[in-house]
């Protein structure tokens, strides 16, 4: 009667694959969440920034043989600078004009970068081929890809770092204050532009980290960023907007839903299921599944 349920080790393997892949969505969602939380910008170009960072890591490895895990030291600081630059050049003037000017700028940036990358780097799918790329750990009969595990570790480290920064440091508290109530934050002397620049820098910095993780563990091409952004938004809706840990959990949940959906139905229907879950959550639990009282509310 229960023939359609596969053995437990396959279920566990699916769970692990889902969690490992879901961290990619999660880390992209955290960047989106921070940017949305303080500026109400739906930064749809986040996925494309991740792909740009992935190319950075890819070329550092291919041209100068920089180990991809060492390239974090170059890619992430560069992303921080690019992030603050993006805010200063593109969003400073229109940040408070309401959501669709900023959404359109983000879309324009996405179109610009996607096509620029496909002209300069070609539209071929790429992946970093290290000597350990195919190496997998075996644990109680379950296979865990080393690079994907490292990507998971990087995502968790990034999340913990950002959560710590927001909770414990003065600057982080300023960011949280500005996302809770901008006017009160300004009354106690917080400069919105400073907070916004910082948030953008962190958001894109996380995109840099996610980019390195993507480049080492998965294949990518210039146009994979958009779906990445959409999935990150689903993760964000699942986790609750403006909630850092929730965003990561939302990503993990989405990854698991997709892994199981792809196994029981087919790859294409898995995506339909994730969008359907997205719409249902937006409608019936817009504050997210993991909303807690402590973090910034939408």
């Amino acid at each position: 009667m229960l023939d359609f349920i596969p053995p437990i080790d396959i279920l566990l393997q699916l769970l692990i694959n889902g969690v490992l892949f879901g961290t990619m969505y999660g880390i992209a969602a955290i960047g989106l969440s921070l940017i949305f939380g303080t500026m109400r910008i739906v930064f749809i170009a986040q996925g494309t920034m991740i792909i740009l960072a992935a190319y950075g890591s890819f070329w550092l490895f291919n041209l100068w043989s920089v180990n991809p895990y060492v390239s974090i030291l170059i890619v992430v600081p560069a992303s921080l600078i690019v992030g603050s630059g993006l805010y200063q050049v593109l969003f400073r003037k229109v940040a408070r004009e309401g959501q669709f000017p900023t959404l359109l700028i983000a879309f324009g940036l996405m179109a610009l970068l996607e096509n620029l990358m496909s002209v300069v780097f070609s539209a071929d799918a790429r992946a970093i081929q290290t000597s350990y790329a195919a190496y997998a750990l075996t644990f109680m009969g379950l296979k865990i890809s080393f690079t994907r595990l490292m990507a998971f570790v990087m995502a968790v480290a990034g999340t913990v770092g950002v959560a710590f920064f927001l909770k414990k440091t003065l600057l982080g508290k300023a960011v949280r204050a500005a996302s809770e109530n901008l006017e009160y934050a300004m009354l106690v002397g917080i400069t919105p532009h400073m907070v916004n620049t910082l948030t953008f820098a962190i958001g894109i910095g996380l995109a840099g980290l996610a980019g390195v993780a993507t480049a080492t563990a998965y294949a990518f091409d210039p146009f994979s960023g958009f779906v990445f952004s959409l999935k990150a938004m689903i993760a964000l809706a699942l986790g609750g907007m403006g909630n850092v840990v929730g965003a990561l959990l939302g990503g993990l949940l989405l990854g698991v839903i997709e892994a199981f959906g792809a196994f029981f139905l087919s790859g294409g229907w898995a995506d339909v299921i994730s969008y359907a879950v997205f719409l249902l959550v937006l409608m019936f639990k817009p504050e997210g599944l993991f909303a807690s009282g402590t973090s910034a509310k939408p």
């Binding site: 959501q99 959404l103 879309f107 409608m283």
Partner: protein, 323 residues
């Protein structure tokens, strides 16, 4: 809102519209439609005018920022493709196109009621974005009905000349502008604008805000569905990637913003201007024109956020909530 009164002004406007439409009707007669690039250019501009007005009605006047136009556009195209490939609908069949528009409108109502009653602002925008993706994925999975990712090939031997397309697109552009004008001028328009400017106040004075939001959304969907139907007849190959492309939403949005959101002439000006700009870019910079398009979007928003139409009037009053 338009300024009321000034009868002579509205008469002059009507006269100008009639003259422009008369000139546009004469274009295929004067220029050779087989060779002239202008005829094709105007054809695509008209489709974009209609799409931009459809978005303008929902987002510009009613304030519900929708990113799901491409869902209705693609649905309209698929109704034609499925119907025609099975012999249920003829070539350039007005009834078929009406059916496509109605299918989109019905989807608009079915999706609009839950989305519009539950979601506001960004959440509604994200929800409609999800709708387009769902439809794209469903058509990819649709097996025999939608022919999967390769899409449906239609008998392109039916094509003789661009002239009927030209007039149909002109009709769609006029229809969309006329419907928007009619809805905005009537009491419906007042209710829509009131809903946009202050939802709570509008509800307090007895406006059924959900009804008006869904009405605007369904009319916008109907217009987008018609455009998709015409595009399907023109391209002869309906596939998920091209017809459920987000460009069918974003370009009209950009055209509205460039011309002026929440104005009647803004989307027309924006659509004509941008279609021409994109075509010029495609001609002179064939390799890198998508880069140029992206750059153009950024520049327009940064330097012309209120639109060309308002630039002339010098009116920069914006309600931050309206955005």
């Amino acid at each position: 809102m338009k300024t009321m009164g000034q009868n002579s002004k509205s008469k002059r406007r009507l006269a100008l519209t009639v003259v422009v439409v008369a000139l546009l009707t004469a274009v295929p007669g004067v220029l050779d439609p087989e060779t002239s690039y202008v005829v094709f250019l105007l054809f695509s501009a008209f489709i974009y005018v209609a799409l931009a007005q459809a978005w303008n009605l929902v987002s510009g006047y009613t304030g519900q920022v929708s990113l799901g136009n491409h869902a209705f556009f693609g649905l309209g195209a698929y109704v034609i493709a499925i119907g025609w490939s099975r012999g249920l609908i003829g070539y350039l069949d007005p009834l078929g196109m009406l059916l496509a528009g109605c299918a989109a409108a019905i989807l608009g109502i079915l999706v609009g009621i839950p989305l519009l009653s539950k979601l506001r602002g960004d959440y509604f925008a994200l929800g409609t974005l999800g709708l387009g993706e769902i439809l794209r994925l469903v058509t990819i999975q649709g097996r025999a009905l939608t022919a999967g990712p390769t899409g449906i090939f239609l008998p392109s031997s039916s094509f003789t000349t661009i002239v009927p397309y030209y007039f149909m697109a002109l009709f769609l552009a006029l229809l969309a502008t006329g419907v928007t004008y009619y809805m905005v001028k009537s009491n419906t328009g007042l209710a829509l604008v009131a809903t946009r400017d202050d939802e709570a106040a509008a509800a307090a004075i007895g406006i059924n805000i959900l009804k008006f939001k869904v009405l605007a959304f369904a009319v916008g969907a109907f217009l987008a569905g018609l455009c998709g139907a015409l595009q399907a007849y023109y391209v002869f190959h309906v596939e998920p990637q091209g017809f459920f492309s987000l460009s069918w939403t974003i370009y009209p949005v950009l055209m509205c913003v460039l011309g002026g959101v929440g104005t009647l002439t803004g989307p027309v000006v924006g659509a004509v201007f941008l279609t021409a700009a994109f075509e010029v870019a495609k001609y002179y910079l064939p390799e890198i024109h998508p880069i140029f398009s992206g750059l153009l979007i950024i520049l327009v928003i940064m330097f012309l956020p209120n639109g060309l139409v308002r630039l002339r009037r010098g009116r920069i009053v914006r309600n931050p909530k309206a955005a």
